[in-house]
Assembly symmetry: C2
Homo-oligomer: 340 residues x 2
DNA sequence: CTGAAAGCGCTAACAC
DNA sequence: GTGTTAGCGCTTTCAG
């Protein structure tokens, strides 16, 4: 057990019978200091196991070396993987990561951001809650903000996203190439730019292949199994489901099971998912894979660049998704689908 | 955009032409203060959007209201779910969570703990890295420590674990009841108490049913697919695999696929996993489910109780696992296995 | 080169 | 009831 009260610069000064300021200078390698003094101080500091108090430093320098992260839910493969990336990069740059969950609730998101602000964090990385429609809490942040995944175009500040449009296009095109013509899409809140880009990719893919868009097949703000079930009540039932989020994939699987529909024979399945195990599903899921860890790293990099005033390499980073074709979308077994 | 410099207690005092201490008292509801003054101060504070500077507070009161969390890997269903639980409870109690990853490396774990200490965190919640064998870094912590999952019995401080012994016993017993007799177990580092308890559960389950223990079937420190492959090289091949970690489940599935062995006909599969989607696997996995979110909450509760000097309800919390039987272990189809 | 002093924002004696 | 002062640990003028 060590002493309860941490050793301070004063303790060192006292023991060496010099002024605290001298110790401070010696420790942080100020130019104008006697080499002998410096060595002495460093030695004693070592002995006493001195570690600078970051709180005192923060108070003085008005920066905390802490970056805040607000995500909808930590226990979500996409979020946890990006947080992993953020922590990884931040750690290497001497920053620490403080995490909050919005639980997809606007109010909690606002509360978190305010809390983080009052914590004097140096910067914020955020993925918006599903039902966040007002952005005041982000607009009047003093600290730099980087958004990822769920971004809002109206806000300034860099963003890290993936090629949502192209990714969706590829995915839907693949379903079409497998013979699907009634492709329903399950998406999130319509005001998220992610949603908009993905839906555009969906519409354009259909358009490219002269398939009329059936608005009934576009489920916006998909939150419950009921809305998926609804798709299968009318006379025209989908022959494919494109999900824009892992949770929606799970829900689809449940619903299709409940309805006794086979995948992919009755309904093909494809979409965005970041469960590393989704190839082990029954059947294995065709997914648009996002470079989650890298997204986190990039977000942290952009943020720290802003904090430290380094010019940004790019205001917005767009990473590339990968279409991972598995059994869930292969209606024409054995056929090697178009690589696009 | 707001002012860059946050408003302080001094600003309020100045505007009201009173002393900062009065403002401070008014704001924190000190008894002996004029009601009128208090109201006035509160009003101005509101107007100016004053938020107390937690850094100044920390410096003064020598506590940061931050709890540190060190886990092997955030992007891991078990870890992210527990972190979710920690954040959830901590948030409600006014604490914030700072996260670090050890990446299963002892050195990085030590570095993180030291960093956290120098950060003057109020307490630490940790799940040990797989190869941590020395515990000095935890022994001489000034702040309270709570361990969860990967705990070490030699250390003081409360722990949150699950009924590893009973959980494993139940799981292995179930495999036995399905007719398996050559059950191999894939486990982690032998010095972890988790490993020890689980292996004991395994041994005792076999013993109870008079099945001799084949030491070749006990794979300690299972890190690679090779060690699983080895199991299938000799003359006596396992008819069941019990995995003690989600990653090992994935590896098993890969290996069995590679070997062309059917699950559960050739090899039954069961074990610890916290992938909420493992029922969607092909075949659905029989798993021992841990109450991950609750583990996190409990850990946070124990820690905060210690920090605030509240007497602990219990030094160690042991939560109960649930055996979720699915197709991967059902050799005798249709048979309703013993509920135990 | 080194010491003394001020101040970051806040609270808690200690006056009056 | 309210103002004054000191101090949390550290850096940074400003003197010397």
């Amino acid at each position: 057990m060590t002493r309860k009260t941490a050793v301070t610069i004063k303790d060192i000064a006292q023991q060496l019978k010099m002024a605290p300021s001298t110790v401070s200078r010696a420790l942080r390698g100020s130019r104008d200091i006697n080499a002998a003094t410096r060595l002495l101080v460093q030695q004693v500091a070592e002995e006493l196991q001195y570690t600078p108090n970051p709180i005192a430093l923060s108070l003085k320098e008005k920066r905390s070396k802490i970056i805040g992260v607000v995500v909808p839910e930590i226990a979500n493969n996409f979020c946890s993987a990006t947080i992993g990336g953020i922590e990884d990069y931040a750690y290497r740059r001497g920053y620490h990561v403080m995490i909050f969950q919005s639980h997809e609730e606007y109010e909690r998101e606002v509360a978190n951001v305010r809390l983080l602000t009052s914590r004097r964090i140096d910067g914020l990385i955020i993925s918006l809650a599903n039902n966040t429609r007002s952005f005041d809490h982000l607009e009047d942040m003093a600290a730099p903000v980087v958004m990822f995944d769920r971004v809002h175009d109206g806000l300034p500040g860099p963003t890290v996203v993936v090629d949502d449009y192209a990714g969706t296009f590829k995915g839907v095109e693949h379903l079409i190439s497998e013979g699907c013509r009634r492709i329903a899409v399950l998406s999130m809140a319509p005001w998220l730019s992610t949603t908009q880009k993905r839906l555009q990719g969906y519409r354009d893919a259909l358009g490219t292949y002269n398939i009329p868009v059936n608005e009934r097949f576009i489920v916006q703000s998909c939150e419950t199994e009921a809305s998926i079930l609804d798709l299968f009540t009318g006379p025209e039932r989908p022959d494919a489901l494109f999900f824009s989020m892992e949770r929606l994939a799970m829900m689809s699987l449940q619903v299709l099971k409940k309805l006794g529909l086979r995948i992919p024979e009755d309904v093909a399945l494809a979409g965005f998912s970041d469960n590393p195990a989704s190839t082990l599903f029954s059947p294995a899921l065709t997914t648009i894979r996002q470079p989650t860890f890298e997204i986190g790293q990039q977000a942290a990099e952009l943020l720290i660049a802003q904090i430290e005033g380094t010019p940004l390499s790019a205001p917005t980073v767009e990473l590339t998704t990968l279409l991972d074709i598995q059994a869930s979308s292969l209606k024409t077994t054995g056929k090697n689908p178009l690589a696009k």
